[in-house]
Amino acid sequence: MVLADDHALVRAGVKALLASHGIDVVAEAGDGRALLREVRQHRPDVAVVDVSMPLLDGIEAARRIASWSPSTRVVVLTMHDDERFMARAMNAGVWAYVAKDEAIDRLVDAVHRVASGKRCLPENIEPLDDPLTTREREVLQLICEGKQNSDIAHIMSRSVNTVRAHRARLMRKLGVTSATELLNVAEKRGLLT
C-alpha cells in the first residue's frame, strides 16, 4: 500500500506500525500530487491518505485515484469529525474513513477489511450536493495556499488560460468577485480541509 501524510514524523511511525501488523508500505508521499505519482507508479491495493495535505487534499486525490486506478482502494485519515468531510469523502469513492484520535488498530482493521473488499463507512450520511467540480476544488485549494495563476498552471500541468477559466467559474458558482471573498466563503462552507 501507499501512505500519504504531510507530517513526515507521523508517516514514519505509522509505516513502522503497519509493518509490524504485516502491512507493507511500498511508497510514501508528503502532498497530494506526490501521492498521485506514487499511485500511478505502484498501483497499490490500498492507499492510506490524510485528508489535509498541501497542493491537493486527500479527498480530491481519492477522487482522481477512483477514476484512473479503481483497483486502488482509498482509506482516508482525518482529524475532523465533520460530516461535511465524510459526505465529500463518500462522494469521492473512499472505502473507509478513520479518525486520528482512534488507535492504529482501527486503521489496521480498516486496511484489512478494505483489502478484502469491504467498505467501512458510516451508514447514514446525507449525500452531498457538491457545487464544485474536482478541477475547481483543486484550483480553490491552490489559490488559498497563496499560489499565483502561473504556479497553479505549472502544478496542475495546464495552461494559464485554463486555470483562469476554472477560477472564474468557481468564483461565479460561489457567488464571489474577489479572491478574498473566495477565501471567506470557502472557509465558511467548509470547502478547505
Binding site: H7, A8, V10, A12
Partner: protein
C-alpha cells in the same frame, strides 16, 4: 543512561506513531503517554520524566499555557513542543514560555531524534525570531479582512508602510498572493 520521556497528544495515531519511532531507540524510553493536558500533568507528577513531548493543540488546554505548569511542578523537566505547523511563530512562542524547542510533525524522524537528544543533553533549540510585533499586527488586520487602507488606519501607519509589510511577509513566508497571506494569518490563529 536512558532519557525518560512522556508523550502528550490527543491523537492516538500520533502517540502510537511516535512511540513506535522512540521504542526503536535504546537511549530514549517512553515511560507513559497522555491524551490531554490534565492527564499529562498527572502523569508527569507521578513519573517525573526527564523530557515532556507536548502537543501545542490539546482539547483541554493550550499547549503553550501548559509549559509553565510542567516546569513549575519539576524544574528539571525539559519540555519540547510538537506542532502540526512549521511556522516560526510557534517555535518562538514556545521557547519564550520555557520550552527547549519545538518539533513540527513535518520534520524527518532523524531530525526529530536529533532534537530530542540535543535537548536531553541540556541544549535548547535556536529559533528564528518569528514575526515581529508589527508584522503580527498587520497580519491580524488582514485576517479580519481589512484592506491596506483600513489596516493602516487601525494601526496608525501609512498605507504604503502596510503595503511594505505585506511584501516583506510574502517573501518571508513564501506566500505569493494577498489571499495566501490572509489564509496563513487565519491558520495561525490571528
Amino acid at each position: 543512561m536512558k532519557t525518560r520521556l512522556i508523550l502528550v497528544d490527543d491523537h492516538a495515531v500520533v502517540r502510537e506513531a511516535l512511540k513506535q519511532l522512540l521504542d526503536a531507540e535504546p537511549d530514549l524510553d517512553v515511560i507513559g503517554t497522555a491524551d490531554c493536558g490534565e492527564a499529562g500533568l498527572a502523569l508527569a507528577h507521578r513519573t517525573r520524566p526527564d523530557l515532556v513531548l507536548l502537543d501545542i493543540s490539546l482539547p483541554d488546554a493550550d499547549g503553550l499555557d501548559l509549559i509553565a505548569s510542567f516546569l513549575e511542578h519539576d524544574s528539571d523537566t525539559r519540555v519540547v513542543m510538537l506542532s502540526m505547523h512549521a511556522e516560526p511563530e510557534y517555535a518562538a512562542a514556545a521557547v519564550q514560555r520555557g520550552a527547549c524547542g519545538l518539533i513540527p510533525k513535518s520534520d524527518s524522524p532523524a531530525s526529530f531524534l536529533e532534537t530530542l537528544r540535543h535537548v536531553a543533553a541540556g541544549g535548547t533549540l535556536h529559533v528564528d525570531a518569528g514575526l515581529s510585533p508589527r508584522e503580527r499586527d498587520v497580519l491580524g488586520e488582514l485576517a479580519r479582512g481589512a484592506s491596506n487602507e483600513e489596516a493602516a488606519q487601525a494601526l496608525g501607519l501609512q498605507p504604503k508602510t502596510v503595503e511594505g509589510y505585506c511584501q516583506q511577509l510574502m517573501q518571508r513566508l513564501d506566500v505569493h498572493t494577498r489571499v495566501g497571506l490572509i489564509h496563513y494569518a487565519r491558520r495561525i490563529g490571528l
